[in-house]
Amino acid sequence: MSRLPRRVLFYLAAGAVAVTLNFFLPRLMPGDPATTLVATYSGQLTAEDLQALRDAYGLVDAPLWQQFATYLSHLFRGELGVSLSQFPTPVTEVIGTGFGWSLLLGLVSVLLSFAIGSVIGAVAAWRRGSRFDSIAPPVALFAGSFPYFFMALLALYLFAVQWQLLPLGQAYGFDVEPGLNAAFAADVLAHLVLPAGTVVLVSIGGWVLNMRNTMIGVLDEDYLLMAEAKGLSTPRVVGSYAARNAILPTFTLLGLSIGNVFAGQLLTEVVFSYPGLGYQLYQAVTTHDYPLMQALFLLITVSILVVNLLVDVAYVLLDPRVR
């Protein structure tokens, strides 16, 4: 188990670098955020308000290292400042809701795409040269070669506008009360179909090809021949021997994809006005909401690191050879 502690150390170091960059990068930009911010709001706010804002965000004329220390201590207390576009809601609160929706949309679409794509790829490889193999992977790739926004707008137009089968946008309807009940769950699900479905459609081709390619390699291995010589059932041979080994390289890619979930599925969330992190990031940029932007960047980097660490742990469980 010497691999895991080393990985944890690596991720801790990477996290420290990310936190540091997150502080310095905005301050390296010409026309620092503080000036822009104060300039934007100077007409609307009183001098006391501006001072309070500066204090809240740590926009003081103190030396850089002192600002950095303040930033760190605020960070450890979970204080990321106050949103400017939704003043005076704390940034953490704004992000909290978006985080949940992004997580739902992202996990559902990535896991569905991974699961369906891998199964199609595995079956195609097992029946190499069959009709299924000559139709399914090319169709999946064809779907994936459309620009995402085109696919998303088309789906939105057809299903939500033309045929009115599915809701236009948002995460749930205005007419349902959020809560843990079947009606709300069904409504959330209905709102999830289009954004998740379009993401699955454009991303599935990659998983199909990946699985098909690694599995074809695995099918040539002696242990597969032995599994067949043992007279095991076909599901057992394909599942426990072929797909079980072929999934390993694909699994690392799954980690990367899940990591990107936290960047918010920007295009998806904008097209379907889905209130996730990507939508918030888009709004933060258009409204010059620096504290929100900074917090989102921090969240995205840290989440990607955490997910990759989790994938590393899961990989160790899946492949005994790396223990």
């Binding site: 002696d222 242990y223 032995m226 010589a229 007279g231 492949d319 005994p320 050879r321």
Partner: protein, 319 residues
């Protein structure tokens, strides 16, 4: 042999490719008696591994069995439906592959690789199957605690012992061993061969032992068959093989091994290379490399008995 355990007759296998079909196994016939060790030897590419995989019908496209029959205890394996075929695999014909590192599933514990085959064929529960696995491990000299290990945690010799134990799990009547010791060093090779011999004496299974190493066969086999260019060219009892080998190819093979009482004589290889399998020459496949070749060799020599229990396919030594 009317009471043969395995009777292969006229078996042909072709690899179908863009440049035509390569006939890797060409009208091969042989029999294995219950409890017998038949050694099958030949150089790389002579079709011996293809033959080994053809018997339990494990060949994959582009390899196709084009003719012949493989009778095991009266049934023709080539005629069985998928379900019957699966049920005789391993329970009647088990296999040991060349490299146990590659033949064992790297992400499955050893115990599960015993248990899955035992449970598939006998319907035992997992606990009972693992008990049986522990017995088998003891039988081949592996600590049963090793059942919890993954293949990469075992040494090369232990892996090959484990593969042997898995092969014996259902007490098959026939075990096909395709170069089971080739990947091991000579000391381990010796150990595994002794293990195989001891187990065979105890359990009485028959073995089709495939190797390129004739000297190994002379020690362990009852009979030896020599394969060349997809055909069996000579078959004789192992005991007198060194003296009685008659086919020019066999003699060439034997001359290319050093003997123990080597008096410094130079080893002679066989000049030339094996015939093309896609476009084989008419007649004897060895004629082009053979010092005894004559006009007659343009016709295929019959595989005839030249002495009791000794057959060869050569015009010069046969009829």
């Amino acid at each position: 042999m009317a009471d043969a355990l395995l009777a292969v007759e006229d078996l042909s296998v072709e690899y179908r490719g863009l440049r035509g079909a390569a006939r890797a196994v060409d009208r091969v016939s042989f029999e294995v008696a219950p409890g017998e060790v038949l050694g099958l030897a030949g150089e790389s590419g002579c079709g011996k591994s293809t033959l080994a995989l053809a018997i339990p019908r494990l060949l994959r496209a582009p390899a196709v069995i084009t003719s012949g029959s493989v009778r095991l205890g009266g049934r023709d394996i080539l005629e069985l439906d998928d379900r019957r075929l699966r049920s005789i695999r391993w329970s009647e014909i088990a296999m040991v592959f060349q490299n146990a590192m590659n033949a064992l599933n790297p992400v499955m514990r050893l115990g599960s690789q015993f248990a899955d085959v035992i449970r598939t064929h006998t319907g035992l529960g997992r606990a009972r199957a693992l008990e049986r696995a522990a017995e088998l491990c003891t039988l081949v000299g592996i600590d049963p605690a090793r059942l919890r290990s993954y293949p990469h945690e075992l040494s090369g010799g232990m892996r090959q012992r484990a593969a042997l134990a898995i092969a014996l799990a259902l007490e098959p009547k026939l075990v096909i061993m395709d170069e089971p010791t080739t990947a091991l060093d000579v000391v381990l090779q010796r150990e595994i061969m002794e293990e195989i011999t001891a187990l065979r004496e105890r359990l009485g299974f028959a073995v089709l032992f495939i190797t390129h190493d004739i000297s190994l066969l002379i020690e362990v086999a009852d009979r030896i068959a020599i394969m060349y260019g997809g055909r069996i060219v000579e078959q004789a009892p192992a005991r007198s093989f060194l003296e009685s080998a008659a086919h020019p190819y066999t003699r060439g093979l034997l001359a290319s091994f050093p003997s123990i009482d080597d008096d410094g004589e130079r080893l002679t290889g066989i000049p030339g290379s094996p015939p093309s399998l896609i476009d084989p020459p008419a007649g004897c496949g060895f004629a082009a490399r053979c010092t005894l070749a004559s006009d007659r060799c343009r016709e295929t020599p019959p595989f005839v008995e030249i002495a009791p229990a000794h057959r060869a396919a050569c015009w010069e030594v046969g009829a």
